[in-house]
């Protein structure tokens, strides 16, 4: 079927999702927002998605909002 | 049903009226009277507009229009003669007058003459019960109707 120009790639979408969570909790203040974003990803994302966003946090960090990036670091931390 | 759109004037008429008198349900009869006064009858095409204006269903309005004998769904003749059929007028020879009037005006009771000149309608009491038989001719009360009075009425509605 026809063009899918406007459909995000999976990686773009994961970044978009993480950023979107971060944007929606930003009003809580940075510290709480990072915790909320991290919790959210931990609770609702499947393991493969978590692995991929962790990798993206390294390879495409500039695409992530600071809160999202910090949250992903928080999940990845042992 | 609404094959012909209600005219813009009707819409304006209703809107203006509602603006003045409010749009609660109890304004339905006053509004219908106003429309009939202005237009001469309640066109079926006006019913949806009335319903909309007063927040009623079309069925609500239709039920009311058809309940009250005053409201016409078709235009009346150019002249309307309402002849009393009630007991007090009957006691004064009303039945014979009814027959004579129908004959002289050339239209049966409850109908409009084919040329649209006159509508003859029954009315049940005008409150003139000591001076009958009575009629309303285009809204004007006439008492003690006899053959001569019928002739005068016939001349009047010929105009």
């Amino acid at each position: 079927m026809s063009d899918e120009n406007d459909v995000m790639s999976t990686e773009d979408r994961l970044i978009y999702m993480a950023n979107q969570i971060a944007r929606n909790v930003t009003a809580l203040g940075k510290d709480e927002a990072v915790v909320m974003t991290a919790n959210h990803i931990r609770d609702f994302w499947d393991p493969a998605m978590k692995r991929r966003i962790a990798a993206l946090a390294a390879s495409r960090r500039e695409a992530l909002l600071p809160i999202a990036a910090a949250a992903i670091d928080r999940i990845s931390a042992p | 049903m609404q094959s012909h759109e209600a005219s813009v004037d009707m819409k304006r008429l209703i809107e203006d009226w509602v603006h003045l008198h409010g749009r609660t349900r109890d304004q339905l009869l006053p509004l219908l009277h106003a429309i009939q006064e202005e237009v001469g009858f309640i066109d079926d095409a006006a019913v949806p507009l009335i319903a909309q204006a007063l927040n009623l269903s079309r069925a609500d309005v239709h039920g009311v229009v058809t309940f009250y004998h005053d409201f016409r769904r078709m235009p009346a003749g150019r002249h309307v003669v309402k002849l009393c059929r009630a007991e007090s007028c009957q006691a004064r020879g009303g039945a014979a007058i009814e027959v004579a009037a129908a004959q002289r005006l050339g239209v049966p009771m409850g109908a409009t003459r084919r040329d649209g000149q006159v509508t003859l309608e029954p009315v049940y009491c005008l409150g003139l019960c000591a001076v009958g038989p009575n009629a309303l001719v285009d809204g004007r009360p006439v008492a003690r109707i006899d053959a001569a009075a019928i002739e005068r009425i016939a001349q009047e509605v010929a105009a």
């Binding site: 499947d46 | 349900r25 609500d60 239709h62």
Partner: protein, 948 residues
């Protein structure tokens, strides 16, 4: 259950005053609630008074004069239906004198009634016939040559029932049912006196009148004047089974009335606690799809979607399915497959599908169509209140003083509940509607919103926060409630947030497009107008801020103390019949049944113990993630029960690509739906008439679905899932769905008290139903929130990234219409097509004029996701800049247009906001023609081989 008509007590129950009255009826002393009519009191005592115009779902009317009785010390013969009982009253319901009067009345009735009882479709099921016998009418002395109302033409315009005015006794039951029960006011009496006749709208036929075909009039008619065509065709029923409707989330109870093995009609059941004997055009009439010739009754498989389907035996189909799942898992890993449960199937079936996935597939890749409708409700209400469900039962609305409807269109989406709502509004409750469209509730006969806030799509959070701003800054909040029931500190944080000037109605007016004064007035009314209840729908959830909006609603309710009693609350109107149940049953990839996270070790241990396997502690994939994973090549097979994700999910192109990338797509459904065009295995499904089980409606009410007839396809859906599970090596051995419910109850604390025997005894149960609430829970959070303290959550307004611009200057929002249901798979296969044969694009006259579009013109509708064509409907229901369409017809495929933006917390798609352009066009788009051809190609079926 054999066929017995429900007892009709003649008049509704008295409005409770708490006082009772003692009187004597036919020598027997009885005590009844004050306000009860003599008729009802007599009926409850067991003596039946003749009646025709009285029926207990409408107010007494007093027109038929058959129910006259004698009351000692009173002159005359009062009508028992309109006379309330009084202390010490001595009533005689039977005497020679009464018999004589009743016969006199009946003689008049019959003098204007055709004498064709023997050939009448209502013969044996006609109250006039029955009462004529009851009053002992033996002759009619008025003769044959008098005036009658007979010989009038029948109106057969309605696809489901006929109107034969010659048989009408002008009792006005139909008119009153339309007014009082349905609230449409489509019927009236035309004329007066002997010429009185029932008239749909302006003396029109039913189909062109204002009638919405809810069936209340047909049900109310005591003669054959209004008769279902099916009764005419098949005859009167001889047995009945009480069951639950499979359409929307209202969950109406019906008596499926059968003649032999044929379903004659569905009659709403008075005892049904969700519907109290009312129905809509879908539940009452649109069940013909169950016998439609399009139903697939034989399993089919194919190795590629390019091939035609091949009919196979159930054994082969099941073995093939299980084999494919195992093969793919072996090749691509445990997490490479998953499934989707259906909100149209029973709780038991849903539970089994998620169990198959968790236990059999060994992963949590299960999701449900609630993902695309009410997942934000689950998230938002769980976060704020502690439980993922509406707080009230439907009856609660009778106590509401202010009703706030946001993002819902109850008269179309939840018509039976809408009738209750309209009744309350007619009683004087005030209405606030927050919706971009002027939905019917904003103004329809006898109902008018006090405030309609026609906000720009996508600005719900800004609007609700502005209302919260008014509540806080004008000191309209309920401090005592908040201090007692919520966390005061959290409230203070939230209050400070919403009180910022940037969140005032004035400040957000440019965003929402709604005048600040109106917002302030609405907020004041909600906060101060007495019991205030919020009802919302997908116009709240299907946004990129869906979860925030749900929480903003919860905040508002908590701040004003409108939670925890009757008449208030936060009430999501669920779309499909069992959305609530599907969510309850653990259909989400992160939760077990009862909304318990898969990472909770204790919960997981209980399931592991029951199921004898280790379970995954990590959340699985959501539907959109499954599709992403499929296009990425890591997700290879899916089991889809009773869903049509291709039509219902956003961005059709993307869904199609995901499905096309899989190796095995298994679809279980009644029909070859759009998704099945991409399927490799098709397992025929069964209808709700063909199986036992339970549905849970929007008020958390668990109700029985009872088998009315044998499944045409051979198996109930639960049996099919069991067959697949068994073929995959699981040791399932359910012989009846009640055993599945027992397992659910054992594993789910909120369902601990739910068993079939209890459901049969009590009619229904609202969860939580357990030791703490043995009779269920009509109203939640009465003594405290489920989570402990109610949580105020700061909900920042984060605008969607879907923006209008020069290319796409209009905003599209989508919804549904009364006569059609969801993707239309069912309703399109019924005579409901008479009302809505195609999806149309609603567009404001100004926008239409700019584009040279006339009413009925073909227009192309284009977004960055895709393009389709449909015909335009020019209307002021939509604001300038906004267009609207429904998504019931695959020919239109409205979801070709919708984008892959979704809710930040749940990925619920943003159906309600899509930037589009609308232009005149010549007809269906190229894509639609290609799609139609492809669908035809994909639906070819090769016949079953004889050698089998």
């Amino acid at each position: 259950m054999t066929f017995t008509r429900e007892t009709d007590h003649g008049t509704p129950p008295a409005i409770a005053t708490g006082r009772s009255v003692t009187l004597t009826i036919d020598g027997e002393t009885v005590t009844m609630p004050e306000g009860t009519s003599i008729m009802r009191a007599a009926s409850l005592t067991g003596c039946s008074i003749p009646k025709l115009c009285a029926t207990d779902n409408v107010e007494s009317f007093g027109s038929c004069r058959l129910c006259l009785v004698e009351v000692e010390g009173r002159s005359g013969y009062p009508a028992s239906c309109t006379t309330p009982i009084a202390d010490g009253m001595v009533v005689r319901t039977q005497s020679e004198r009464l018999k004589q009067l009743r016969r006199g009345v009946m003689e008049l009735y019959i003098s204007d009634h055709p004498l064709d009882c023997l050939t009448c479709p209502a013969n044996g099921d006609c109250e006039l016939q029955e009462q004529a016998g009851a009053v002992g009418l033996r002759e009619v002395r008025y003769g044959y040559d008098g005036a009658t109302n007979m010989g009038q033409a029948k109106d057969q315009s309605n696809p489901y029932f006929d109107f034969d005015p010659s048989k009408c006794i002008v009792c006005s039951r139909c008119v009153r049912a339309c007014d009082e029960v349905q609230g449409t006011f489509a019927l009236t009496i035309e004329g007066r006196g002997f010429d009185s006749k029932v008239s749909p709208s302006q003396g029109q036929d039913f189909l062109s009148s204002e009638c919405v075909s809810c069936g209340a009039c047909v049900q109310a008619c005591p003669t054959a004047t209004l008769t279902e065509k099916k009764v005419v065709e098949i005859g009167t029923p001889d047995r009945a089974v009480v069951t639950t409707c499979a359409y929307c989330g209202v969950g109406c109870t019906f008596r499926a009335e059968m003649r032999g093995e044929e379903l004659v009609r569905m009659v709403p059941w008075k005892e049904g606690k969700a519907n109290h004997g009312h129905s809509c055009v879908k539940g009452r009439f649109a069940w013909g799809y169950a016998q439609h010739r399009d139903r697939i009754l034989q399993p089919m498989i194919r190795s590629s979607v390019e091939e035609p389907w091949r009919e196979v035996s159930w054994e082969e189909a099941i073995a093939h399915t299980a084999g494919e799942f195992r093969r793919i898992q072996a090749k691509y890993g445990t997490r490479s497959i998953g499934g989707i449960t259906s909100s149209r199937c029973t709780n038991e079936e849903t539970f089994l599908v998620q169990k198959l996935i968790r236990q059999g597939f060994g992963n949590n890749n299960v999701d449900t169509c609630a993902r695309v409708c009410h997942s934000p409700t689950g998230y938002g209400l769980k976060t704020t209140f502690g439980t993922s469900a509406g707080t009230q039962d439907f009856d609660s609305i009778a106590q509401a003083d202010v009703i706030l409807v946001i993002g819902a269109n109850p008269t179309d989406g939840h018509p039976v509940f809408a009738s209750r709502m309209k009744k309350r509004l007619r009683e004087g409750a005030k209405l606030i509607v927050i919706d971009p469209r002027r939905i019917d509730l904003v103004q329809s006969p006898h109902v008018e919103a006090a405030h309609h806030l026609p906000l720009r799509p996508g600005t719900n959070v800004a609007m609700l926060t502005a209302m919260a701003h008014v509540t806080v800054t004008e000191n309209l909040f309920d401090e005592a409630f908040i201090r007692e029931r919520c966390d005061w500190e959290e409230f203070m944080d939230w209050a400070a947030f919403v009180a910022e000037p940037s969140r005032s109605p004035e400040a957000v007016e440019p965003l929402t497009g709604v005048m600040a004064q109106e917002v302030r007035a609405a907020a004041r009314l909600y906060a101060t107008g007495g019991n205030a209840a919020i009802y919302y729908g997908l116009g709240v959830t299907e946004h990129s801020q869906g979860s925030s909006t749900v929480m903003a609603i919860a905040n508002l309710a908590m701040a004003t103390g409108n939670i925890g009693r009757e008449g208030v609350g936060v009430n999501p109107l669920r779309g499909q019949n069992n959305v609530q149940g599907a969510c309850d049953m653990g259909s989400f990839p992160h939760e077990f049944s009862g909304y318990r996270h898969v990472s909770d070790d204790a919960v997981r241990a209980s399931f592991e113990k029951a199921w004898g396997v280790a379970l995954d502690a990590e959340p699985g994939l959501r539907i959109p993630n499954m599709l992403d994973a499929a296009t990425d090549g890591t997700f290879k097979a899916i089991f889809i029960q009773g869903e049509d994700i291709l039509q219902s999910d956003p961005n059709t192109h993307h869904v199609a690509a995901g499905l096309a990338a899989m190796e095995c797509v298994v679809v279980q459904d009644l029909f070859l739906n759009e998704t099945a065009n991409y399927a490799h295995v098709f397992l025929p499904g069964s209808t709700f008439l063909e199986k036992d089980g339970t549905f849970t409606n929007a008020e958390r009410r668990i109700q029985r679905v009872r088998k009315v007839m044998a499944p045409l396809n051979g198996y109930g859906d639960w049996e099919i899932v069991q067959l697949v599970a068994q073929a995959m090596g699981l040791d399932w051995s359910y012989s009846h769905p009640s055993q599945i419910m027992d397992e659910i109850a054992a594993l789910t604390p909120t369902f601990a008290g739910v068993h079939y025997d209890r459901l049969d005894a009590e009619g229904s149960l609202q969860w939580p139903a357990n030791d703490a609430a043995p009779h269920g829970t009509p109203t939640m959070h009465i003594d405290g929130f489920v989570r402990g303290k109610g949580k105020f959550v700061v909900t920042d307004y984060v605008p969607t990234d879907e923006k209008t611009g020069p290319r796409f200057p209009l905003l599209l929002t989508t919804g549904r219409i009364l006569s059609q249901y969801n993707v239309g798979a069912q309703t399109r296969r019924t005579a409901n097509e008479a009302w809505h044969r195609e999806d149309r694009l609603e567009i404001h006259p100004a926008d239409a004029e700019n584009r040279g579009i006339a009413d009925g013109d073909w227009v192309s509708l284009k977004s960055r996701a895709g393009e389709t064509s449909l015909r335009a409907l020019i209307t002021e229901r939509v604001a300038p800049g906004v267009v609207y369409t429904t998504f019931h017809h695959p020919d239109t495929q409205a979801n070709v247009i919708t984008t892959d933006y979704s809710d930040w917390a749940t990925n619920c798609p943003e159906y309600k906001v899509t930037a589009v352009q609308v232009m005149r066009s010549n007809g269906p788009s190229d894509w639609q023609r290609d799609y139609a051809a492809q669908a035809r190609h994909s639906r070819r079926i090769a016949p079953l081989e004889a050698a089998e």
